[in-house]
């Protein structure tokens, strides 16, 4: 296969991403900060950015590979990913926005009033983020290997370098525009070759019987042992895992208010559903012309190999180059979002070098490099798990830890810190065990082995049950201000509770709604009092949310967060 065109395409995508990032950075500097900028860009661009970040290597390559290898049952993966977004919107997004918590650890500390719960959540964010980064890097290695024959580490290193270059100068601010750009790139990159492929396929098979014979074993859904359990497990993981992904939750804050968030979610669902039909079709076409890839263990590369199966010469090269560009965009956007989220949490919660704005930025940058380096190492160690399956397991971990913590924390006032931690340990331990045994190929037989393949159907209910039982047992140690926190989570958006001044809703309110006098004992004032009692200063950027690391000084001072409280 001639591959000069593909290499050029990959290089072009990398350069374009950096250029768009730089442009976005300049754009956001002219606004007062990133979030106001995102308020100005409207729901379609916002939804594009959300979708761009969400559609990872697993969506671009893995879904087609799974459909090719395992058949139509695997429609579940894209369906679950879209439906997970719906659950996030209905149950979590609005209360989380109102809480003023920015990240999942923020929320844990705010609701449970426990630093231990916060630390546990931080560790989980890092674990989930790294787990999700591995398949991205793996996909990048696979792509370059398929296209050029270069060893896998070349592609992995390339993505790592571009991600670092994108994140280091601007943090979160330069990323939104890049991700919106990546969504449309990915869509075009899949859509255009599809027309060619379908045309070629239609022209070729004059007799439809050929196809019928090929797909006969495939049209019957859900076969094989334990199909019901495995599918339910997968569905649960994707439904409930979405809300626990650190880079997904953060995106909801770029919406102006609840109404805008719902608009954006509708747009996201259209964009995601529209996108997911494409890899499914690739998988179906792969069934006709490239079913040998399954036996060769290269099902994940079906999207990239299809053009050369149906065309020769420049057409095949051009289409492959386009697909390679789209795939690279997929790795870049998801890993950028993940790296920003994980590095934010690392620099804010887990390591600390001095206080103050400058140190905050330096810590964030060092964390970025460290996160990228560690996930690169892990990728090299863990080669061999199919891309989409690695992502399924990540969803399972998120679904068995953060999902119960969020749902119970928001909708049940009885959740205590000990209950939440116990649940996260049980659910996280079980699902992480599954990850380890799958990654390193530790074979386990019988039902236990089945559970270890798809842990969610066991680990999610178990985690919920643990949280409830331990919380009931420890209800004497319920968080002190839980009544106040619950009001904060559920009071209508427009009540001026001063829930934390750092989200864009504030500007919106000031502009349009009559400003009512701020309640003298709002939660935030309370928080500030207690942090002052701690001797902590609210100007310390590093104790704020991850994104403040890149804000200008006065913005940071305005954003006094509930997270400044450290009991």
């Amino acid at each position: 296969m001639s591959n000069a065109a593909s290499i050029v395409a990959v290089v072009l995508v990398s350069i374009a991403s950096l250029a768009v990032g730089a442009f976005g950075l300049r754009l956001s500097r002219t606004m007062s900060d990133f979030y106001v900028a995102s308020r100005g860009v409207g729901p379609v661009l916002n939804a594009s950015a959300i979708s761009g970040e969400y559609l990872s290597a697993a969506s671009f390559l893995g879904v087609a590979g799974l459909i090719l290898a395992r058949g139509v049952d695997m429609l579940w993966l894209p369906v679950g990913w879209t439906a997970g977004y719906l659950l996030l919107l209905v149950f979590v997004a609005a209360p989380l926005r109102r809480s003023g918590a920015y990240t999942l650890p923020d929320f844990a500390q705010l609701r449970l009033e426990s630093v231990v719960a916060r630390r546990a959540s931080s560790l989980l964010v890092v674990a989930i983020g790294l787990l999700y980064l591995i398949p991205q890097f793996q996909g990048a290695g696979l792509t370059l290997r398929t296209l050029t024959g270069a060893p896998s580490w070349v592609g992995q290193l390339a993505v790592a370098v571009v991600v670092c270059l994108n994140v280091l100068p601007g943090g979160m601010r330069s990323v939104t525009l890049v991700q919106a750009f990546h969504y449309w790139l990915k869509l075009l990159a899949l859509l255009t070759p599809l027309f060619f492929l379908l045309g070629a396929l239609g022209g070729r098979s004059g007799d439809p019987d050929v196809g019928a014979v090929f797909v006969a074993d495939w049209v019957e859904p859900l076969r094989g042992d334990h199909a019901l359990y495995l599918t339910y497990s997968l569905v649960l993981a994707t439904f409930f895992g979405t809300m626990g992904l650190p880079h997904v939750v953060v995106r909801f804050y770029t919406n102006r208010d609840g109404r805008a968030a719902r608009r954006a979610t509708l747009a996201v669902l259209v964009l995601l559903s529209g996108f997911y039909l494409l890899p499914v079709l690739y998988g179906v076409i792969g069934r006709y012309v490239a079913s040998d890839l399954v036996a060769a263990g290269r099902a994940d590369s079906v999207v990239l190999e299809l053009p050369s199966r149906l065309f020769d010469g420049p057409v095949a090269e051009g289409l492959t180059a386009l697909l390679a560009a789209g795939a690279f965009a997929a790795f870049l956007s998801t890993s950028t979002g993940l790296v920003v989220s994980v590095a934010g949490v690392v620099s804010q919660d887990l390591v600390r070098w001095g206080a103050g704005h400058r140190q905050g930025i330096r810590t964030f940058r060092l964390s970025t490099v460290a996160v990228v380096a560690v996930s690169l190492l892990l990728t090299i160690v863990s080669a061999g798990v199919p891309v989409a399956h690695a992502v399924e397991l990540t969803f399972a971990v998120a679904a068995s830890t953060f999902c119960p913590m969020l749902l119970l924390g928001i909708w049940w006032r009885g959740l205590t810190a000990r209950g939440a931690i116990a649940g996260m340990v049980v659910g996280g331990g079980l699902s992480m065990g599954a990850v380890v045994s799958t990654t390193f190929g530790i074979a386990t037989g019988g039902w236990f082995g089945v559970v270890m393949t798809q842990p969610a159907a066991v680990s999610v209910p178990l985690s919920f049950a643990t949280m409830v039982l331990v919380s009931v047992a420890t209800r004497a140690s319920a968080p002190e201000h839980v009544a106040r926190t619950m009001v904060r989570l559920h009071a209508p958006e427009h009540i001026d509770l001063n829930r934390g001044s750092f989200h864009p809703e504030r500007w919106y309110r000031r502009a349009s709604a009559p400003v009512s006098p701020v309640s003298p004992v709002s939660p935030v004032t309370h928080v500030n009092q207690s942090s002052a009692a701690n001797g902590a200063t609210t100007e310390g950027t590093d104790s704020g949310t991850q994104h403040t690391a890149y804000d200008s000084g006065d913005t940071t001072a305005r954003r006094s967060q509930p997270t400044a409280r450290r009991d």
Partner: protein, 111 residues
């Protein structure tokens, strides 16, 4: 150390609101709409999986060419996700938000 922070739960207007019947009503309204909706849509997804396992003949029946009921229902899942979100968004825009805003005005007036 922050345990020394003044404890003012009693005269906190937020807590007063939590106890107010309007707020309770608003929350129960949200639950009454959203929980059944979610139950319905989860049931519909799980029904699909059940059909796939226990009604293989039906799901494997070809409708047009190689397109089976399984495939059609599977693609319909995307449509239903979108429909449900649409229903929720309309309900929130038309019913829930105005009431929440009314309560907000009332509470704002009290402060």
């Amino acid at each position: 150390m922050s345990k020394d922070a003044p404890e003012r739960v009693v005269d906190d207007p937020n807590v007063a609101m939590q106890d107010s019947p309007e707020f309770a009503q608003l929350r129960s309204k949200f639950r009454k709409f959203v929980f059944p909706l979610t139950a319905l849509f989860l049931a519909w997804y799980f029904l699909y999986v059940l059909l796939s396992v226990f009604a293989k003949d039906f799901m494997g029946t070809r409708v047009i060419g190689n397109v089976t009921w399984g495939l059609i229902l599977g693609l319909l899942q995307f449509v239903s996700t979108f429909t449900i979100t649409m229903v929720y968004a309309r309900w929130a825009d038309r019913v829930f938000d105005p009431e929440a805003e009314a309560l907000a005005r009332k509470m704002g007036g009290q402060q």
